[in-house]
Amino acid sequence: MKENTDQEIIQRVIAGERKAYAELINRHKDKAMTLAVRMLKNHQEAEEALQDAFIRAFRALPGFEWKSSFSTWFYRIVFNVCSSMLSKRGDKAMVSLDEENDEQLSLQLSAMDDEPDVTVEQQELTDIIKKEIAAMEAKYSAILTMFFLQEMSYEEIMEVTGLPLGTVKNRLFRARSALRNAVQRRISEMTLTEKI
């Protein structure tokens, strides 16, 4: 059976078929929840934020102009709700339009000819990555989620976060580097423990 597009569902909702909104929720809730959890680091708060975001989106739906996809527009709402919750907590990590410069983009891998001194099983590596991303700063884990899970382009991330293109690119690079380093560090620690 052909699946309805977001646009078709939204048209039905605007026409008065409120129940159709459940389809939209089911379609986007998991990815949006992942973003909220990555930002807030708390499952219950993330669910509250997501519920708030879906209600806000529903109310704003008649004014949605299709300048972007529904998902981009909706993730912006999720991002804003979560940022606002972080601000209330006193965490300004997501809000700051930081000074990140482009120097790091030319970072060259050192000792590239060295053989890696550690190896881990694929499943082990996956587990480490999951743990490390959960522990990352919100501004980094959020941008990684948008880029890899939501498969957003730089432009879409700009639209969601309100950050300029240079900062988006730089933050994404930093996030990936930070995650890589954290994973690498964890693997080294594990290998060291095994040797002892």
Binding site: Y21, K29, D30, I55, L107, L109, P116
Partner: protein, 180 residues
């Protein structure tokens, strides 16, 4: 050629490099275990993040839908609600009318009409339950002074209807909303 930068490796993993550039990186990867390791790490990061979904609770969709749906009113509930609202409104208008337009001449007519209504209500009460009627009469004695005037009687009925409306609203409306 110099070692690739981390950014170049990331672009390679993302598939955003120019084909010629990608080919050069591929050759370098083929000859370096370190690079192979880095690529594995970056690819696994990409796949892990790309495939990890965190689901909200099972009741999530229902909770959101409950928030956005105005409670679904059944037909009987609509009838009760709208009737009691209309009745309360009529009563308020009547009270205003009595206060504004009552005159000594009209007072006696209104009193007579009221007396008829009062007796018919009392009769109904009696037929429903003798004990209840006794109780009502017993407890309404302190209001005798108030009930001697037409305005006082209308006020008494108004308060009674208002209380009835509040009870209907509290007991039935809230129950329906909470049940959903």
């Amino acid at each position: 050629m110099n070692n690739p930068t981390l950014q170049e490796l990331m672009d390679y993993v993302d598939g955003t490099l120019e084909p010629s550039q990608a080919q050069v990186i591929e050759q370098m990867i083929a000859h370096s275990k370190r690079l192979q390791y880095e690529i594995t790490l970056l690819k696994t990061m990409k796949e892990t993040i790309g495939h990890t979904h965190i689901a909200p609770s099972k009741s999530f969709t229902r909770n959101v839908m409950n928030e956005i749906q105005p409670y679904q009113e059944s037909l009987w509930f609509k009838v009760v609600k709208n009737s009691s609202q209309a009745f309360a409104m009529l009563l308020v208008l009547s009270l205003i009318g009595i206060v504004l337009f009552s005159s000594p001449g009209a007072e006696s007519i209104t009193e007579k009409q009221f007396s008829n209504i009062y007796h018919s209500i009392a009769g109904s009460f009696r037929s429903v339950s003798q004990e209840l009627t006794v109780l009502i009469i017993q407890y309404s004695k302190p209001f005798d002074v108030v009930l001697k005037t037409t305005s006082g009687r209308m006020l008494f009925i108004g308060l009674f209807i208002f209380a009835l409306y509040i009870i209907v609203d509290e007991v039935f409306v809230k129950k329906i909303v909470l049940r959903k």
